[in-house]
């Protein structure tokens, strides 16, 4: 069905045909162009929305991811603190129990605290430098605290020894005056010394450890036994000195 002559003529006539649009045709189009956003602008809008969404997603992931990473060690640090606190409490109890013997050594306490810290480090799923530094700092602080406890303990022993010597000298002076001292009188002297020590709050004032916080946890019963321990240590020390003096005189 090829185009015939008539169609060719029509084509020739109509192909170049021009009809001038009305004057407001452009105004009409311009108005429509103002309302309708261009394809480009629409594309940019969608790209913008997509980019914003991706950006928010990345930021959220980073933020929550970092938070998780930060939270995990934070929990561990709390555990470290608790472990150390427990160790300190245990050490304090050991110190108190063995106050009369004065056998508590620095070396015994230190590894205990260190072991707790090391265990925590081993259990850490993420080995981050910052965390390790923080743990080391904690360890240093704990060591310092423990040293202070030991120093305080030594100081305590010194005071008790001084008190014993004071009682011995008192007893000697009384005996030199030909007074016979009964066991009850000796006990009274020892009790007085014990009261003096407690009254002066010797241990409390000279200790740099947060004794208040630790003592709060100690019950009345424990306090009572502590009093007894002081009395016992005074009595034992007194008897030892007396025996030693007697042996020397003999």
């Amino acid at each position: 069905m090829a185009p015939n002559k008539f169609e060719k003529h029509i084509r020739k006539q109509l192909e170049g045909r021009e009809i001038e649009p009305t004057a407001n045709a452009w105004a009409n189009l311009s108005e429509k162009l103002d309302i309708a956003p261009s394809q480009k602008k629409r594309d940019y809008l969608w790209y913008g929305i997509a980019a914003s969404f991706i950006g928010i997603l990345i930021i959220s992931l980073l933020y929550f991811g970092l938070n998780d990473a930060e939270n995990l060690p934070a929990v561990q640090v709390v555990e470290i603190d608790e472990t150390i606190k427990e160790d300190i409490t245990n050490s304090e109890l050991i110190l108190e129990k063995n106050a009369n013997e004065g056998l508590v050594e620095k070396s015994k306490i230190k590894p205990l605290a260190k072991r707790g810290v090391k265990d925590v480090i081993k259990n850490q799923p993420l080995e981050l430098k910052g965390q390790i530094t923080s743990i080391k700092e904690k360890e240093a602080v704990v060591n310092l605290e423990l040293e202070k406890v030991v120093v305080a303990k030594d100081f305590k022993e010194e005071i008790i020894s001084a008190k014993i010597l004071e009682i011995v000298s008192k007893v000697d002076s009384l005996e030199q005056n030909n007074e016979v001292l009964t066991d009850v009188e000796v006990d009274k002297l020892l009790r007085d010394a014990q009261e003096e020590l407690l009254r002066d709050k010797l241990f409390k004032n000279n200790s740099s450890v947060d004794a208040m916080a630790l003592l709060k946890e100690v019950e009345v019963e424990l306090e009572q036994s502590f009093r007894d321990q002081i009395f016992q240590s005074l009595k034992t020390g007194f008897l030892k000195v007396r025996t030693a003096v007697a042996d020397r005189n003999n």
Partner: protein
């Protein structure tokens, strides 16, 4: 004068129009709108409706100017948009009714028209007198140079329907011209 020389290059004008430069768009519109209104008028009898369709066509041109790749002529690209816009208009108004009659065996018969003295307006009046279905296929095939395959795709009809519509349009035009006592011409 400076402005005219600035927009001398059509490619630059198109680029500026694509970026939303209203002055460049107006210049393109001023250049192509008379031709495009002529295209739309071939399909739509009422010139006012044809102008509305042309304006909508230009709106599509300017909002989709980024998709023009400068592979073919810019005029051809706008023209295709106008044809599609006109077809859409006719569809919206449900003017076009295509029947699926079997193609007449005499579809290639010769036409004997005397058209040498026919002016454009006269031709347009003849075309306007055709039913929209016939007219659309006839204008697309005979004036715009579309193939039946393309017409069938654009109008969503079968190729046979397109051929049938063209045949009927030709026959109707022949009858009208005979009525006007025209002298016949043969096909080439």
């Amino acid at each position: 004068m400076k402005i005219i020389s600035f927009y001398k290059n059509e490619k630059q004008l198109i680029k500026k129009s694509a970026s939303g430069n209203r002055e460049a768009q107006q210049r393109l519109f001023a250049k192509y709108s008379p031709k495009m209104l002529g295209v739309c008028r071939q399909y739509i009898k009422d010139v006012h409706f044809a102008e509305d369709v042309m304006v909508d066509g230009f709106l599509k041109v300017f909002t989709n100017l980024d998709s023009f790749r400068h592979d073919g002529s810019f005029e051809g690209w706008i023209r295709r948009i106008m044809v599609r816009e006109s077809i859409s208009y006719l569809r919206r108004k449900q003017f076009v009714v295509y029947d699926d009659e079997v193609l007449d065996k005499n579809g290639n018969q010769n036409f004997s028209f005397s058209i040498s003295d026919m002016d454009v307006e006269h031709i347009q009046l003849l075309i306007d007198a055709l039913p929209d279905g016939y007219k659309t296929v006839f204008v697309m095939f005979a004036i715009e140079g579309y193939k039946h395959k393309e017409i069938s795709e654009l109008l969503d009809i079968s190729e046979n329907t397109s051929k049938s519509q063209l045949f009927k349009a030709r026959r109707m035009l022949q009858e009208k011209l005979k009525a006007q006592k025209s002298i016949g011409y043969g096909t080439e």
